[in-house]
Symmetry: C2
Subunit: 266 residues, 2 copies
């Protein structure tokens, strides 16, 4: 069971804030791995996990990639989550699902990700409001609320000023952090916005930040890290997916993934 | 393949705007239906569909309820969607999934719902911006963007004024309707906000509205309908889930569902 302080200690002892994103695209699995889609994805995922677990503190599974695998996709998602929790229970396991719906529906999503599967956290959209996040608040679990995302579309609404002049993403940070504590929620903040990460850190000094957008999407790792660390020198997950998963498309893909992951040690 | 005009004609010929929401909760399936979870849900769903298809023009499948069914849930979702499209191809089939993510991930969700499964439309959160909706724009398919939802949390952000005094949901309507036409997107507007539906209709006169919140959630059907109709006397889906699915918990559940659905005829 995770708390903010336990996660801080984990980061300080392993000297990394790396979260490996398992956005597995069957078309990018090295050609020497053969079999059914389920066999191929599981062999690829378990090899990546074996190779990288020493160099990361968290795994993030992007549900979209599994839903796109067809009728079997949800089972492959289940097996990947179960593999991680049964072999590496000290790793924080995030469902990158970006769900968000009214109460009775949100309860179903919480059941799916917390009870049917062993996730420690799930990403959620704030658009529908605070009551849609409440069903995901449980002891030892974290709701990870989107604040400022890494894509260009973040300027369409998130960066637009509200009537008090503050951008929408700041209103999201304010309202959610006023309602939920550091052991209940975290916030997504994209690395592609430069020093805005520093602003986010000052607005929510105690909450964890999950930061995508480093690497392929253009965010700089060390700058982002120095802007995002909390007072304890932790408080952040920096996610990397494609750079690690597809570091090599040959038989050395797992070794290449380990090397790519180890570069995030500080 | 659906267009705005074809949907208008369908509504005017069937004299209903009813969308039946298949939010199937295994715990609420009548006790006389026995077997594995897959057998029970499929027997319940197909019975509801057989009983109601004459009285509705659309089905909406809420993905949360299927994800909560465990590892098999995604396959039950597949089979339900395939059953509807193979038996009732004239019905508009909506995935109520409320997804929303950056480009390469959004493409995966589009693959899951449009290619792997035969959905005509998917509900999406606008929070991450216009570029996250673009991968769902395809000829004959519709992205259904959340504007104003039916829950109390809609006042947290959606109803908050932006710097020009207009609430966020109006900015969502403006930006998306300026970018995407009536044959590309629709908008979700909850029935629980009274005359605001009328405001939404005036802001997007040509786009379809998907309206939840009638019945159990408190919205009045006829008032909502009169506020939401477009110039052709159509342009809207009104969704009902629990009132129809659970009209009876005994062996007559399908007859009771048909009667409940038929009340929406106008």
């Amino acid at each position: 069971m995770f708390t903010k302080d336990a996660l801080d200690n984990l980061i300080l002892s392993k000297r990394t804030v790396l979260c490996v994103g398992l956005d597995t695209d069957p078309a990018k699995i090295p050609a020497h791995i053969t079999g059914t889609i389920r066999q191929r994805v599981m062999e690829f995922n378990t090899s990546i996990i074996k190779a990288t677990h020493k160099y990361c503190i968290a795994y993030k599974i992007n549900t979209a990639f599994y839903e796109a695998m067809g009728a079997e996709g949800w089972q492959i998602l289940f097996h990947t989550a179960e593999y991680i929790k049964s072999h590496h229970s000290q790793h924080f396991l995030i469902a990158d699902a970006k769900r968000g719906d009214i109460g009775n529906t949100a309860e179903r999503y919480a059941k799916a990700f917390y009870d049917e599967m062993p996730f420690d956290a799930i990403t959620l959209s704030p658009y529908m409001g605070i009551d849609t996040v409440e069903p995901f608040i449980r002891r030892g679990k974290f709701a990870i609320v989107l604040a400022l995302t890494s894509n260009t579309g973040s300027s369409d609404f998130q960066l637009q000023p509200m009537d008090d002049g503050k951008p929408l993403y700041q209103k999201v940070l304010e309202k959610f952090s006023a309602k939920f504590g550091k052991d209940e929620i975290m916030f997504v903040t994209g690395a592609t916005h430069g020093t805005i990460v520093k602003t986010v850190r000052s607005l929510v000094p105690n909450h964890y930040l999950l930061i995508p957008g480093v690497g392929v999407q253009g965010g700089d790792y060390l700058t982002t890290l120095s802007n995002a660390l909390n007072e304890s020198g932790a408080g952040v997950f920096i996610n990397s997916s494609r750079e690690i998963l597809y570091a090599s498309s040959y038989e050395d893909f797992d070794v290449a993934a380990a090397v790519a992951a180890s570069k995030y040690n500080f």
